[in-house]
Each structure stands twice: as C-alpha cells, then as structure tokens.
C-alpha cells in the first residue's frame, strides 16, 4: 500500500502565508503549491481561518518535497505575512524556529513579537508598494513572487500556475497578477533553499482528501449517495454529485441525516452499492440506522470526516475523537467494519476497500477521515487502480428453500435482489430466523449474533489491515491522519541510524488481534499516538487485549496538528 515510507524530512520546505480578509492568503498558497507541483514536487496545503464566513483572518500552509508529504512538520521554514491582523488568533498554529525566515511588508507594520520570539530572520519586501505601482495590482501576488523565489521555484512554473488557478477570473486579472508576481520574483533576494526540482510528473495528482474519498467511493462501485451537508464532509458530496450521474448513479440531498442513512439502506437493499458522508453530529443521528443496516445485513458505507468534538465542538478543525462512537456507538452487540485512511492519497484505497468490504460482508463500514485529510490539498503520485475481488454475494436463482439469512461456512448469506423471481423476503431489524421471520427465541438470537460476528472475525482481510514499516524493539501504533507525523519521526530516526517499527492501523474493526500481537511481541516500548483527548485507540487496544501493560499513550486533542517533534519527545520519555 505504501510508498510513503520515503517521507519528507529535511528534503522538504514549508511555508505559511497569512493575511486577513480579502488579502488572498489561500489563493497565494494554492498557486504556490501548484507551482511546486509543476516543478515536480509532491506537497500538501492546509488552511486555517477565523470564525467569519468570509473576510476573516486566514492562513495557508504549504509544504513540498521530492518525497510524499503527509504532514506539516514541526516549524515553518518560511512565514509570509500579507498583513498581521488578528494573527494572534492562530499564531500557535504557526510555529517558527531560529532557522525560520519571515517575509514581511514594512507597510503592514512590525512583525508581531509573538512571531519574532523564536529568533526567526526577517526579510522585508514592500509588497504593497510594488502592488500599488500596478493598476489593479494585488499585494499577495507580489508576495507570491517573492515567496517562490525564496523557495527556489522556477518562474515559468509559477507563471503556469498563476494561469491555471486564476484562469477563470478573466484575462485582465491574470495579466496583472503575472506582472505583480514578476515584480516580487525579481526582487533582489536569493533563494533560501534549493531543492532539486524533479521536473513535472505526468502521474501526479492534485487532490483533496475529500475528493480522494469520492474517487475511492466510485472505484469501490458506489452508485447511490444520499446525504445532508455538514462541515467538513460536504466537499465529498459536492464532488460526487455531478460525477455520480455521469456513471449512471445519483446523489440525493436529504432532509436530514436520519433520512440519508435510511435512504442509502433502501437503495442498497435494491442492490446498488450506497454511501453517505457526514461528520460527528450527523454520525450521531445515523447510529440507529446503522444498527438497522447491520441487523438486516444491508451493506452501507459511511465516511465520517472527523472534526473537533464533542457536540458542535470545533467544526472547522481536525481531531480523531470519533473512534469511540465509530466502534462502540451502536446499541446492542453490533460488530461492524471501521477503517481509517492513513493519508490523503490513502483516502482513495481505504474508501474503495471499505465500500467493497461492506458489500462483500453485507455489513456497515465506517471510514474515519478527518478535517486535516479531507480539506487539505495534496500533490501525490496517482494512486493505482486496484481490482479487489470483493463483491456482494447475490442469489440470482433463488429456489423455494432460499433463506435470506442462511447460515453458511463464511457466515455471509446470498442476497436476493428485488426484481429476482422467487427470492422475495422481508429484510428486518427485528431479530429473525434464517428465513428472516422475526423471532425472539434464544437459539435464533444466538445464531444470528454469531453469524454477524463471525463473518467479520473469520474473514481474511489480508495485509491491508495496516501499514507496517521499520523494525527494532520500539514501536509506534497509530491510525488515520496521525500517520503522517509518525512516519516523519520514523524517517528522522532512520536518518540517525536508529530504527523503529511503525504500525498504522487502517482496519480498526474488526481488530486483527493475532497480527497485532505478533508484531508486538518482543517490543520494549510501545507508544500509541493519536489526536484526541482520551486516548481512544489506546484504550480500545487495551480493551482488545493486544497491548502490553507497559504501553504508553500520546493523545493530543485538536485543534492543533500533532507535530513530529512532539512524538519524538514522547518516545524519548520526555513526553
């Protein structure tokens, strides 16, 4: 699954661009990332903003490298201030060190002490002055030019990127932007860093995690989606809506999440692989429906893009705090599938796998993405198509003995789809006998509980259950988006000649006990790393009896990203 072991370490460059309403920090970041992509780099862009809908303070963080980039690193190499308004609101998201450089416009006033305190160098460029020399000139474009130069990016690539991203704004805007960019670029500073540009690659993608989940859904065969908008999941739906219909599928905007989960259950009962996407509050509303899908053995997939919780929480920020509800949130004994993509790129495979596993095992699959994966833009190697031999077991010629919930060797019963003569049955959320007739008998309950458990427990999920890398007697276990930072640490250690084993769990439930235990035997140190307050994975692994008592937990809630340095300190015991 993973070519990301060659994680960006020193061979990367990271830039944060901040500005207030209308200054175009995000656009600047997007063009910078695109330019890096045009030069052949891989990269990542995340963003942060104030509580305003528009016009608030915002920041774009960009990092690029010759290798895959899956987290933001510890400090920024470069901070570009278009202006400094309200910067204190998210200064703690912009760590700098004495090796950092700050690019600032004297017209914006002094660089806030907050940012200077770590001893970063300051380089002044008169963005505003330069821009005002051009009719309609924008200071962010001047800053973009200056930034690209400092980053050592090629001017041609930069110009191509400006055209690509601003193209739809009209020629005039593009022309002026190009002039401004050149002004900034040709300013008299030298590149601070020169990463060797690999040259534009024909198989690189520019994609967000939410889009990648959409691609994975389609690859997995999803052809019906019903959903209700919610931050930060809406883009999955917005990407899918126009594309599904080109593939003979459809998306229905539902009146609420109760409707959307039950709609996809209905559609899936009809034989069409179905999915919805939501976030914490929406998932909460779906758990009753998930139980129905589980007991009626109707496959459905829910992509839950996690945000700060609980309750409405912090909707625009990332956190991995929905593991508990994902695993345990259904009433009754309700085993099902829980997966988590380990990177933006992996959103494609994990979602595809989830959809196909749900279909194959006729159960519920939850995919735990999060805001930091979903809403970040990445330049990645195009994820190869993977054909998975997983599909719904369908009974095409049911006979009189047909039993919808028959006990079979693999505990998966063939499903008869509406339209199939002779296979009529009533799917039910009441406990039932193998035929589907409601039953409150102990034997039927026990039989069906066992069936629903063992079809999962006994299935061979193969090697994709986790990405396992490295070796040694120390081990980090992690999941989901925390994987990026963990892998960066592994890279550092490797570079220093020490070694560590990294287990990034993609299939959280059913937990692959034996495989995990096998990996963990002989470990001297086990650290479980995740982005939440309670250490939800840590406790879950203990619940499942796979962790040694000595295992340690590094659990840090959102909204700040987990940084590699923090993990390294925890490893060293200094955590």
């Amino acid at each position: 699954m993973s070519d990301s072991s060659k994680q960006a370490t020193s061979q990367s460059y990271s830039v944060a661009i901040t500005g207030s309403g209308g200054s175009g920090a995000v656009t600047t970041g997007r063009i910078l990332l695109e330019a890096a992509a045009q030069c052949g780099f891989q990269g990542l862009m995340t963003r942060s903003a104030g509580p305003q809908i528009r016009g608030g303070e915002s920041a774009a963080m960009v990092r690029f490298s010759q290798d895959p980039v899956e987290c933001m690193g510890d400090e920024y190499d470069l901070l570009v201030g278009l202006d400094w308004r309200n910067i204190e609101r998210f200064a703690d998201e912009l760590p700098l060190s004495d090796k950092s450089l700050i690019l600032s416009d004297p017209a914006a006033g002094e660089v806030p002490a907050l940012l200077r305190s770590n001893g970063a160098d300051i380089l002044e460029v008169p963005f505003k002055k330069f821009a005002s020399g051009l009719p309609g000139g924008r200071l962010n474009m001047v800053a973009l030019g200056a930034t690209a130069l400092v980053c050592g990016l090629d001017l041609k690539a930069l110009e191509t990127s400006v055209k690509a991203i601003l193209g739809n704004k009209g020629e005039g805007i593009v022309e002026t932007a190009l002039l401004a960019v050149r002004l900034g670029y040709n300013h008299d500073h030298r590149p601070r860093i020169t990463l060797e540009a690999p040259g534009k690659s024909a198989d690189h993608w520019s994609i967000t995690g939410n889009q990648a989940c959409g691609v994975g859904a389609l690859r997995g065969g999803t052809r019906f989606v019903a959903a209700y908008p919610i931050t930060p999941a809406s883009e999955i739906l917005e990407w899918l809506a126009p594309r599904l219909e080109k593939l003979g599928g459809s998306l229905l905007q539902a009146e609420d999440e109760l409707a959307s989960i039950n709609m996809i259950i209905g559609a899936s009962f009809g034989g069409v692989p179905s999915l919805t996407a939501t976030s914490g509050p929406g998932l909460s509303l779906m758990v009753e429906g998930l139980g129905l899908a589980l007991v009626s053995e109707t496959p459905v997939t829910v992509v839950n893009v996690m945000r700060g919780g609980p309750s409405t929480g912090i909707p625009t920020k990332s956190e991995q705090s929905d593991l508990n509800i994902a695993i345990y949130g259904l009433h009754g004994d309700a085993p099902h599938l829980v997966l988590a993509p380990l990177s933006i790129r992996d959103c494609v495979f994990t979602t595809q796998w989830a959809v196909q596993l749900a279909e194959h095992l006729q159960t519920v699959a939850l995919v735990l993405s999060d805001q930091s994966l979903g809403q970040s833009q990445a330049i990645i190697k195009a994820p190869p198509q993977r054909e998975l031999s997983l599909a719904r077991k369908v009974e095409a010629t049911p006979d009189a003995e047909y039993q919808r919930y028959a006990i079979t060797p693999d505990n998966v019963s063939a499903m008869s789809l509406p339209g199939t003569a002779g296979g009529m049955y009533t799917a039910d959320g009441l406990e039932h006998n193998p035929r589907g007739t409601p039953s409150s008998m102990a034997v039927d309950h026990r039989t069906q509980l066992n069936k629903r458990l063992h079809k999962l427990e006994d299935f061979d999920f193969g090697e994709d259950w986790a990405d396992v890398e490295g070796d040694g007697r120390q081990c980090i276990i992690t999941w989901g988006s925390s994987t990026g930072a963990v892998k960066e640490v592994a890279g550092w250690l490797l570079a220093q000649g020490s070694s560590i084993k990294i287990i990034s769990i993609r299939l959280l439930a059913p937990l692959q006990h034996d495989r995990l235990k096998d990996l963990l035997k002989d470990m001297e140190k086990v650290l479980v790393v995740e982005q939440n307050h309670a250490g939800q994975l840590f406790h879950y692994l203990h619940a499942e009896g796979v962790l040694p008592v000595s295992a340690e937990s590094l659990a840090q809630p959102g909204p700040l990203p987990l940084r590699p340095g923090r993990i390294l300190r925890a490893l060293g015991g200094g955590g």
Binding site: G22, V26, P51, R54
Partner: protein, 173 residues
C-alpha cells in the same frame, strides 16, 4: 425618502422624539458597521464608521439636551413618520461588503445623511408649527454641514475599486 408623501409633525415633542430616534439609530447602525468591519479586518473602513458613529452620538446627545425638560411622547418603532423602511440614516445594509473601500463607505454615509437631511427638510416644509419649523431647519443646517464635511472627506479620498476576494469562504459549522 424624497419620493415619499408629505410628513407633518406639529409638536416640538414629537419632532424631538423623531430626531432622537433618527440620530440614535444612525449611531447604532454605524457602530454595527464599524464592528463588522473590524471583525472582518477592514480596519480603515471600520475606523471611518466609528468616526461617523461618534458624530451621530454627539448629535443624539444634543437632541437629548434639547429635550431634557420636556415630557416626550412614546412612539412605537413602526409609527415614526418616515416612509423609508427604517430610520432614514440607518439603511443600506445589504450594500455593505467586508471588502468595501472607504469611498464606498462614504457613499453609504452620504446616502444616509442626505436622507436624514431630507427628512428634516420635509418636516420644516410641512409643519404648521413655527417652533417645529425652527428646530427642523436647525437640524437641516447641521445635516447640511455633515453632508458637506462628508463630501470633503470623499473628495480627499482616492477612488478605490474593491478587489474581488479570490479566497473561498469558510464553513464555520
């Protein structure tokens, strides 16, 4: 306002209540604009609205002083005798934009002030009470002075075309 029918106010008390509401609404409206501009980091325009708010506040205080010893009637918010949808100097909300330039802000302010002046002018024109007329004309003069001052400010400003925000919106919840 200019298109509205005649407004007749026949008592000083009634007039003062109108003037007070007009100036206070104006004050609050500018304050609100200043606040939102601040929230949206448009500090120059915020400052401008803050200034305008301050003028309106001073104006309102003046009216208060004039009314100090009078027993004023209560007028329900929707029974004021202006025909525009709200107090004359507190309108144009949907023209507000977080990127608005100072010149645009001035336009809004001028629109408001002129409408305020026109209201006073109509009262002066149509009232049969000399006392009301006199007061109204005083107010007209003050508003005229306001309008002049705003025009001067405007003239001293560079015509700026606000630039489209190229960044996408956020999704707070």
């Amino acid at each position: 306002m200019s298109e509205a029918e005649t407004v007749t106010i026949e008592s000083v008390e009634e007039f003062l209540v109108h003037a007070m509401e007009l100036e206070e609404a104006s004050y609050e409206h500018y304050e609100e604009l200043a606040d939102t501009m601040e929230v949206h980091n448009n500090l120059e325009v915020a400052e401008l609205f803050r200034k305008l708010a301050n003028y309106s506040r001073l104006h309102a205080e003046e009216v208060h002083q004039r009314a100090a010893n009078l027993a004023l009637p209560t007028i329900t918010p929707w029974d004021f005798k202006w025909k525009c949808p709200s107090a004359p100097e507190a309108f144009c909300m949907d023209d507000a934009d977080y990127l608005m330039s100072s010149t645009k802000a001035m336009e809004i302010a001028l629109f408001n002030e002129i409408r305020g002046r026109d209201f006073y002018q109509q009262v002066a024109d149509n009232s049969s009470s000399e006392a009301v007329k006199k007061l109204a004309i005083e107010m007209v003069e003050e508003e005229n002075w306001h309008v002049e001052m705003l025009r001067e400010w405007q003239a001293s400003m560079q015509e700026e075309q606000p630039q489209e925000d190229l960044d996408p919106p956020n999704m707070p919840e």
